[in-house]
Symmetry: C2
Subunit: 219 residues, 2 copies
Amino acid sequence: MSRIVRRTVELSDRQRCMMDYITAFWRDCGYPPSIRDIVSGCSLSSTSVADYNLKILERKGYIRRHREVSRGISLPHLLSADHPRQVPVIGVIAAGQPIPVPDSDLWDATSGAETVEVPDSLMKGHSDVYALRVKGNSMTDALINDGDIVLMRHVNSVDNGDMAAVWLRDEKEATLKKFYAEGARVRLQPANSAMQPIYAPAENVEIQGRVIGVIRRIG
Amino acid sequence: MSRIVRRTVELSDRQRCMMDYITAFWRDCGYPPSIRDIVSGCSLSSTSVADYNLKILERKGYIRRHREVSRGISLPHLLSADHPRQVPVIGVIAAGQPIPVPDSDLWDATSGAETVEVPDSLMKGHSDVYALRVKGNSMTDALINDGDIVLMRHVNSVDNGDMAAVWLRDEKEATLKKFYAEGARVRLQPANSAMQPIYAPAENVEIQGRVIGVIRRIG
DNA sequence: ATAGTTGTAGAACAGGCGTTCTCTATGTCC
DNA sequence: GGACATAGAGAACGCCTGTTCTACAACTAT
């Protein structure tokens, strides 16, 4: 007769407490707890109890342990989801005002510049990403609102159809448009299909960067 | 005579190597490296060299160290930024189609539903947040594009001026508009000021949720 | 009752790991 | 040259920490 195997992923009170403690410790300290940290944090009586239950937590997939390594406890869901990238907001884009070009040495972690937290799904592994805050309503034809954050990649050239931040030399104006090279001239197509495109001579447009995302906070 | 103090935040090659190694180690292993890990990873000759440069890295704000704690190295920018919340994408919003109401028990971490990673700055600590994927171009008057992710809070009532997802009973249509109660009728104002508002009797509109953010991925 | 499983206790071991002390080499400023 | 700050090398100390071994109680199946 076959036996019914309880294949539970439920946790005992003690294991739940340990998971909570590990998560909290990580959040508060920035590094994993040792077994003895867990012992005192969860009022356990012995390191062997902690080890015993940690083995169970690992078997159930709640944690990952690394043998013979002090504090070798990692949380898979923090590991798999890439950490959010802090992206610098290096300036403001608005009609009639220039965009400061990102100085690659200035906007690292230590710089005091404002940053926004960006989901990795928007970054796709690229590191040369910066952000601009949109001022004014001049971008509504690109479905971009006052106060939005636009995510940019610093590129020198773009493909046809890419949304890009372009600087119009003569007009001294920056705008976000879809870019199409058409021989000697450039067609700048608003994202909103109801709007008409702008045409400009190629030497009048300067690519500032390619738009890879928009983040809008409301209320 | 006063001395000119070089207050540099620049790193030597060795320190840059160590930062890169620490970051990579963390990403790969899920826990911090020990000093001796860094020694071998960066081909240093002694633990004292690692310690010496780690002290500098801490003084410059690149890392945080915790005394007498093994692997007590944490990265401030990973610590300060709250971990991104995984928000469930519970459905699609498009003209002429209903929005499924979020079932609070279904969309926790264990549910297999699609989720998006959302910066905490958009959530502001709220937990009753879900997301909808926008299908079609019917929302362009709200500056929302096909494929965008709209972040919603599950509320039963909204204040005047809030952007909300509203369900129009008679028209059997969902749309995103600014909401204004005007006596027995409701004015639904597109976010785009160039567009005209819609008026509807109050009993014909049903609040599905309040929009708190928009995320758009491009290219 | 006996054997097996699960959960808990306590202690000891051995290597991991941060710290620190001494020594050396290289510049810089006067 | 001499004083001083910076940077690195090597080794030793001693606590930290994961692991493991033994023992014990409670429960279950046969």
